[in-house]
Amino acid sequence: MIGLSHFLTLSAILFGCGVATILTKRNAIGILMGVELVLNAANVNLVAFNRFSWAGASVAEGAAPAVDGLMFAMFIIVLAAAEAAIALAIFLNFYNHFTTIDIERARMLRG
């Protein structure tokens, strides 16, 4: 049966892929995709913890099922979209100046 540990393993794999992408990619959009992987790892964590650990616990105490984790995940999804919008606008602006979005070329400001 699929339980919490499976989801946590999935999220750990996502997290690892995301961090590896952030560290190795030289393309700005590639890095942004790595960031999205890490964000989704956090989302999987939150939703799985909510479902397996805490929703039942609050029902057992006679309260409505806890939805903190689900809510947090919703906010992350919305803010990730906003972040992508801002980041892509900035990448486009960078492209207009440098005709590339290779971050190795961002070398004007140093020291």
């Binding site: 956090a42 964590n45 947090f72 980041a87 440098f98 004007m108």
Partner: protein, 539 residues
């Protein structure tokens, strides 16, 4: 728990609501046909809107702090534990709003011409929503709110750093800023999801209470570490500091000013609140771990301050120099935040929030002043190089003397506020027995003398290319004058500023009258507050 919100709770967010209303007006009004012509004609109406909104936010937060006009700081968290509108948060908000107001004046009289009139509303709404996010950072007591506040402060900052679309430097600065910001906020979220997994709640206070009852866990360490990454990014702590000089150099100078103080004030307030909360509710078995976390934060502060001071040696661009200086000052403040739990001799965090408030006031004044002079010089000469400061005394004696005072205050010269800020820090660190922090503070201050003196030496001894008199607008005299006043008021009357800071540094859980919801679980463990003038939370 009731579902509805009483109006009294909504009213405690009056300052934020003022800013939010102004952001909505700035976004909607310019597209309404009757008003479109007015907003297309000049920057005037937009600037006035920003000034009015910030003044209203400033006044309402001062009123709440002083308890005027029926407003008061609530004794408990508001919005179901999302935010704490306590005196500490309100004091930080006063600093942020007053500072942002002066930054808007600075923008008005120096760099406003570089923003197209059609872009004015976007610009103002970004500045105001940035200030809104930064003030929420000072209040957040829930991890969801922490995340939202950090992002609400960050997104406008990314856009503002790249607002000048014509310059390559600006586009590069915003690219670095957004990538590092996105990566650090994602890592922070992974840590926060671990905290939720272990504790089943997102409220900081219950998490701290559960921690005290159950001891440390790997999840807590991951969560705290993630949180520190998110806050450390905003504070430009080593090793995620390298965006700071690039963004400061690439962004327009008023944005640099805004980010150097307002953003760091919000972030350090959040860090202090997290550390205080963790320490306040700690128990016997968690003390060692908290001392470890505090020492780690203190060490990050030491490394940050040292790095900032050493890298500043080689700078020839005044904005870059001040950027490294602001990294160093953030390092000093992080050292103090670490001290909160690094020295828990009686299982209580030392009540040092007042020293931080004092430092923030001084830091805001001296940084604003230094950047204001730099903005005038950059506007007049068209260059940000330190060489432009040659013979500044002959071109405008007031600016030269003021710049000298700000730089010496940043160094920590006696008679200026910067001296007393550092003395307060050193005194408290010594009092808590953290001699290595005192040593780091002293050594760093000595290190920093050279690069703060460098512009002064250039001003005094180097021959200028031209001695054309620099004209300064009255508004800029006002901004520089207010900053000078702040630097010397805190420098000559340090006791009064300290007394003010001590009266206004209480946090929600150290305040005398608490609602039952937050104190019931405090029953186990001796909980007492060492804050002067604050009654003990006695169960």
């Amino acid at each position: 728990m009731t579902i509805g919100l009483p109006w009294s709770e909504v009213l405690t967010l009056l300052p934020e609501l003022c800013l939010l209303a102004a952001v909505c007006v700035a976004l909607i009004a310019p597209v309404l046909p009757p008003l479109r012509a007015m907003f297309r004609a000049s920057h005037g109406p937009m600037t006035a809107l920003a000034v009015v909104a910030l003044a209203a936010a400033l006044l309402s937060s001062i009123a709440m702090l002083g308890g005027w006009g029926g407003l008061s700081a609530p004794a408990d968290t508001v919005l179901h534990g999302m935010l704490a509108v306590d005196p500490f948060a309100l004091s930080v908000k006063v600093i942020i709003y007053a500072f942002t107001l002066l930054v808007v004046v600075l923008w008005m009289s120096t760099t406003r011409g570089s923003v197209r009139i059609a872009d004015g509303p976007d610009y103002i709404s970004l500045v105001l929503s940035g200030a809104l996010g930064m003030s929420l950072m000072a209040s957040a007591t829930n991890l969801l709110m922490v995340f939202l506040a950090i992002e609400a402060a960050s997104f406008p900052s990314y856009a503002l750093a790249g607002f000048n679309k014509q310059t390559r430097r600006s586009s590069e600065a915003s690219l670095k800023y957004v990538l590092i910001g996105a990566a650090s906020s994602a890592l922070m979220l992974y840590g926060l999801s671990m905290l939720y997994g272990y504790y089943g709640t997102l409220d900081l206070i219950p998490i701290a209470q559960r921690l005290a009852a159950e001891g440390m866990s790997a999840g807590l360490l991951m969560g705290v570490f993630g949180l520190l990454i998110g806050i450390g990014f905003k504070l430009s702590a080593v090793p995620i500091h390298f965006w700071c000089p690039d963004v400061f150099e690439g962004a327009s100078i008023e944005i640099t000013t805004f980010l150097s103080v307002a953003s760091k004030a919000g972030a350090i307030a959040l860090l202090v609140r997290v550390m205080m909360t963790l320490g306040h509710f700690s128990g016997e078995e968690t003390r060692g771990a908290l001392v470890g976390i505090g020492s780690f934060v203190g060490l990050v502060g030491v490394v940050t301050a040292t790095w900032g001071n050493l890298a500043a040696y080689f700078q020839t661009n005044v904005k870059r120099l001040l950027a490294y200086s602001s990294i160093a000052h953030a390092g000093y403040m992080i050292m103090l935040a670490g001290l909160l739990t690094a020295s828990m001799d009686n299982a209580q965090p030392a009540d040092l929030a007042y020293a931080l408030l004092f430092y923030l006031i001084v830091y805001a004044c001296m940084n604003l002043g230094a950047f204001a002079v730099a903005a005038v010089v950059a506007k007049e000469t068209g260059s940000e190089s330190l060489d432009e400061y040659a013979g500044l005394g002959q071109r405008n004696a007031f600016l030269a003397v003021a710049m000298g005072c700000f730089l010496l205050s940043l160094f920590g010269m006696p008679l200026t506020g910067g001296f007393w800020g550092k003395v307060r820090f050193g005194f408290e660190m010594w009092g808590e027995g953290m001699w290595w922090l005192v040593a780091a503070l002293v050594v760093n201050t000595v290190f920093s003398l050279y690069f703060y003196l460098k512009p002064i030496i250039i001003m005094v001894w180097k021959q200028p290319a031209s001695v054309r008199v620099m004209s300064v607008s009255p508004a800029m005299y006002g901004v520089v004058g207010v900053s000078l006043l702040g630097v010397f008021a805190t420098g000559l009357l340090p006791d009064r500023t300290t007394a003010w800071a001590q009266r206004h540094s209480a946090m929600v859980f150290t305040m005398p009258s608490q609602s039952d919801a937050t104190t019931q679980a405090v029953a186990e463990g001796p909980v007492s507050s060492r804050a002067p003038g604050v009654a003990e939370v006695d169960r």
